[in-house]
Each structure stands twice: as structure tokens, then as C-alpha cells.
């Protein structure tokens, strides 16, 4: 244990994802020895983030205005919505620079153990967006784990009856990888989803 405020800092840092007790201590002492100007700038950004960043009222991605950059962009295709769990998933998909549709951020995945049910996710908001008939395809890009799959199943059961095209990104072998390094589950999925070779 350290004295007063130093311990407070370590405890606060320890709450962050991916930071354990040892890591928190390391960051705390780094901050103590760093240039006070740098530390103050970090503190200012932290305050600013909590005050200025909001969630887009359309897709619930992080935004600085009422609407995010993507929802405001008229060049984006309004007929396709890609549903993801978290804002960081939007950033990941944006990196491929291929997808020109829009997003919807659920804010998590269905997980009864953690007390997260369909009503705790932004599913009602998604259904409202589908009401005007402009959307023709929904891509369910939730994580390929049990909770993500369950969320995708739930949404598919909900959306399919409306008559929209519902798709899910393929699961399988990593590109540029070697077959022998894939685990059995991934390899099994890849075999299930095999496709005809076009020549």
C-alpha cells in the first residue's frame, strides 16, 4: 500500500480493462516521474472526453455531434446496415474501406449470465430504423463467439420476417495463414462454409 493519493491513483488505473495491479503501479509511477505538462494534458483530454463525446442518435457510434461522421455522410449507402457490438468494431470494419453502408452499434451482446438481455441492447432503435423501408440488407457482424452468435440468431429471427436480406460475415481460415495452424473449431467452420471454386 502507498500513501493516500498515490494508492487512489493505482486503484483507479487498476479498474481499466487490461490493466492488472502490477501494471497500474507501473503506470502510476510513470505518471509521477513524467513532465507535469504531459500529465496535465492527459488529464484535460480525459475530462474533455467525458464532456464532449456523445453517442450518435442514429447508430450509437461515438460522435462529437448529435450524429456521427458516417451517419452525416450522404455518400454512404442507406440501404445496408451493418450491426456491430461496440464502437471499436465500427473502426475495425472502416479500416477495410470496402463497406459503404451504415452501422448500428448494439452496445454489447446478449449474455444472461451478465444480466444482458435483448432489452438492454439498442435493438428497438434498430427496428425503428428499419421501419421506413429504405433498408434492404442487414449484415450481422457481432463477434463469432457464443454470445455474439446468440445475438445474431436473435436479430435474424426478428428481422427475417420483415423480408429483409439478412447476412453474416463468413467464419473460417485467416487469409495469409497456414492451414495447419488453424484450430479445430475454425477449421471445422471453414469446412462447413466451403464454396465452389470459380474458374
Amino acid at each position: 500500500m502507498y500513501e493516500g493519493v498515490v494508492q487512489d491513483l493505482i486503484d483507479e488505473l487498476g479498474q481499466l480493462p487490461g490493466v492488472g495491479p502490477k501494471g497500474a503501479q507501473r503506470i502510476a509511477f510513470y505518471l509521477l516521474s513524467a513532465d507535469p505538462i504531459d500529465v496535465k494534458r492527459l488529464a484535460a483530454v480525459l475530462v474533455e472526453v467525458t464532456e464532449r463525446v456523445k453517442f450518435c442518435r442514429v447508430c450509437f457510434n461515438v460522435a462529437e455531434d448529435d450524429e456521427c461522421r458516417i451517419c452525416k455522410d450522404v455518400r454512404r449507402d442507406p440501404s445496408v446496415i451493418c450491426v456491430v457490438e461496440e464502437p471499436k468494431d465500427v473502426a475495425a470494419i472502416e479500416k477495410i474501406r470496402e463497406f459503404r453502408g451504415r452501422y448500428h452499434v448494439l452496445g454489447g451482446a446478449i449474455s444472461p449470465i451478465d444480466g444482458v438481455g435483448p432489452d438492454d441492447l439498442r435493438i428497438r432503435e434498430l427496428m425503428t430504423r428499419l421501419a421506413d423501408g429504405a433498408v434492404t440488407e442487414i449484415i450481422l457482424a457481432t463477434d463469432p463467439n457464443l454470445e455474439g452468435e446468440a445475438t445474431a440468431t436473435y436479430l435474424a429471427r426478428l428481422i427475417k420476417p420483415i423480408g429483409l436480406r439478412v447476412t453474416r460475415p463468413a467464419s473460417g481460415l485467416p487469409v495469409g495463414g497456414e492451414l495447419e495452424y488453424a484450430d479445430e473449431v475454425t477449421l471445422g467452420r471453414a469446412f462447413e462454409g466451403r464454396r465452389l471454386v470459380d474458374v
Binding site: 449470465i113 438481455g117 454470445e147
Partner: protein, 392 residues
Amino acid sequence: MHLRRLSLTDFRSYAETDLNLEPGITTFVGSNGQGKTNLVEAAAYLATFGSHRVATDAPLIRSGADRAILRAVIFAAGRDSLLEVEINPGRANRVRLNKAPARPRDALGVFRCVLFAPEDIVVVKGDPDQRRRYLDDLLVALRPRYAAVRADYERVLRQRTALLKSARASGAVPAGALEVWDDHLVAAGAQLTAGRLRLVEELRDLVSGSYSAVSGNNRDTGLEYRMSAQPAGHPPAAAGAPASAPAAAPAAAPAAAEPDAGKVAGCLREALALRRRAELERAVCLVGPHRDELELSIGGLPARGYASHGESWSMALALRLAAYQLLRAGGEDPVLMLDDVFAELDSERRERLAGLVAGAEQVLITAAVRQDVPGGLSGARFEVAEGAITSG
């Protein structure tokens, strides 16, 4: 395959021990509480990355130490492999194969063994979960992909149970929420059930052959896998008098073709629909492979409750011997380990078991009294006393 070397560091009662082993038979003799079983447990840990005696790793660490290390040189397919496991209670184990870090999942199957232990009697006499565990452990050892299926199924079960519990507490299920978990329970459950059904078919004749060989009599043994979701076409034979059910079962078995995962999925769906209300009332998952039973019978009577102590032991040994034969058919001979088993058997059963295992590539035997081990099993002998092992 066989073990060439086994070293233990801070494992159970052993601070540091290093054993050179040979193919054939090796016997460890010592009074109770000297550390014989700990040796066998260490070897078995290398095959499954879990103990057959305790559910958590903490008791495996010598008191005062913060981690245990197991090392083994395994000779298989003409070459030596070095497998090292660092057991860190509460954290992930570190595994190295031939000095390179490996994922535990990938190192499963490098060492394979079949362990006969006094605890085996509960497979016959205990609750159904013991028999499901016997099937699942063997299934994973034979076909490693089932490790993932089993883990998936357990996770689906936990999620679905959590949902049922919260639904009971709040008095309502969000529309469509349960159906999602039904889909996943059916998908994973059908795969696991189909794997077990296939395994039971493979085991049936081997168990009956092993039972005759161990017990010396020709009483029929039966293995029937009973799904909690009975197929609609096969009403449960146990509907009438429970005692007469297993007698009828073996006759019906050849007619029933091995159901594939698709058929099982259909049964699970039907059963889920039927039990929905009960599930919501009790907030428990009532349908699926976690409620299934492997019914064992001897001479037409259920082994559990009817069989004598000797018959139960013969059945327990027959299940292990059948597992050994199945694993052996898949390639390399697994190592056989008999932990204090001879003390449980009468002299005829001892001699017959000795005859059955004598030809295995490597057999490790522990006994409290040297005279318990049949004379036919000669080979290297070690004395175990207070955690020290000396050539005897």
C-alpha cells in the same frame, strides 16, 4: 507409447523427484499416505491437464510452493517428446512441448493413458454424471475436437440457466430470448449426443468382452444410452417396471440405427417444446445431454443398485479396459496405470486382470502390499516412503 522419464517439482508431497522408467511393468510399493497415488496423478495430469481426484489445481501444489512443474519424456512413434507443464493455481497453466511454448489444447494427446483408480467404482455405483464424465473424457481423448463441443455446450447451458433464473425472478421472459438459447442448446447438444451415441456403439462389445475376461463368467452386460429427450419413435422402455427395462434394451439395440446429429436435434427440439413450462417453473435446463444417462446392466439387471461389490468392480474394470482397447486401436498404445486396484479384487479377478494387462507396452502399478500384485506382473520395482522413491 511409454514414459521414459517423469520429474515432479513441488507437486503434492514431492519437492523434487526424478524417475527413469522402462517399457513393461513397473510397480511402486509403499504404505498408505507415502505418495504412490501422487505419482500416478502426476502422470495422468499430463494426459488431460486435470486431476482425476480434485476439481481445482490448488491441492496439487506442495504446501509452501506457489507452482508445481511436471516434466515427462514420452517415447511414441519412434521418437522422444519432452512435455512440460507448469501448474499455476488460479491462472492458466504454461505448457511447453519440446522446449517450445504450446497451447494446452494442442498438447492434449501427446501423452495418452488409461488410469484405473479406486474412484472408478463410482462410475458404476455413483450418480449419472459420473458415467457422462466417463463417456465425455474418453470421447475427448479419442477425438479431440469434442473438447470444443463439450466446452461450448457447457457455456450454452450456463447462459440458458441464467436466463431461466432471471425469467423466474422477474416473472417474464423477453419475447424470443429463450428461443435463441434453444437454437444453440440444440446445435451443441446434438453434436455432443451424437458423439456419445457413436462411442457407446463402439464400446458395447468391448465392454462385454472385457467383463467376461475379468469376471470369468459369461453374464450378459448391457450399455444403453438413454436420452433425456427420448426419440418419438422409441418410447422409453423404462415406462413400465423399471427393473425389467434394461433386460429389454439389448434386444432393441441392433434395430436402432446410430442416430445422426440431425435426428438428435429434432428430438431435442420436440422435448424442449414439451418441457418448456417445467423449465420455466423450476428455472433449470431439463433437456439435453447433461441430463442423459448411460445405463449399465449385468445379467439383465441394472448394475447400479443390483450388482454386488465384486460385479461392480468387474464392470468398472471392463469400462476402463474397453477404453484402453479403443484408444489403442487409434494408433499408439496408451500407458496403463493401475492405482491400488488389486487390493479391491479377489485373487481370481487379480490374476485375470494381470493376464489382461501384462502385454501392454507400459504398465505402472501402485500397491500398499507387495503380495497384492499378482506374481505374473514382474518388472521394475520401486519403494515409496515419505515422498522418496528408491529402487527396490
